[in-house]
Symmetry: C2
Subunit: 123 residues, 2 copies
Amino acid sequence: MREAETGIHISLEVVCGKWKGLILWKLLHKDFVRFNELRRSIDGNISSRMLSRELTKLVEDGLVERLDHQQVPPRVEYKITTYGKTTAPFLNIMNQWGMKHKNLSVSKKEMADLMNSEAESNY
Amino acid sequence: MREAETGIHISLEVVCGKWKGLILWKLLHKDFVRFNELRRSIDGNISSRMLSRELTKLVEDGLVERLDHQQVPPRVEYKITTYGKTTAPFLNIMNQWGMKHKNLSVSKKEMADLMNSEAESNY
DNA sequence: CGGCATCCCGTCCGATACTG
DNA sequence: CAGTATCGGACGGGATGCCG
């Protein structure tokens, strides 16, 4: 716990990086997904190595549950925990924000300038 | 723009990393802050190098405005743009989430387990 | 005061290959 | 199918020092 942090820092530890957010996002909507199924469903072509690593962390942090049916060929399923589900609100908003400003990521400065010069929207 | 991304990825580009979120967070509540004033107000003892770097990026992306009063000694002020203000909703929620689960960051797995085993809260 | 330059390390992340 | 092993490049981020 150490010093007073803004909560934002805490949240970033959970969701930061290129993949964890996407993985949680998918698991929030899918419930019980197999490894490769999850892998294929994620945009951006994640490697099995990365998916494995990120899932391991998410399981360690209690956000995701791993279910290994002891089978050959292997059958492992992942499921978001109730704790993991608590991230839904801000993942939802992040997704909305991102979709809204998607076009900005093309030429950021210019479009942001344009937006700033327009009548202020109601935020 | 390239392929369809989940918005989450876009948002993460803006807020990810150790500092950008905190900086935006402070600027959302302060409006016109000088460099070192901002620096001191941020939890976690950010170095001037980092603050400078992150602010540069934020300015490039149109989220923050830089005002250099041409003075000696230097007087530079930073201000969040109207575009930058649109991040307020999810920064707020991220902060709330982080504050709520602050204790979890001590021993994550154990407390998450505990939480998961409790009656499901209403999310 | 508000930076930038340099060094240096750990982590992120992708590509490829391999295994039970 | 569900990973792990290995390599290597890119990036984040801390420490220190210097400058106008």
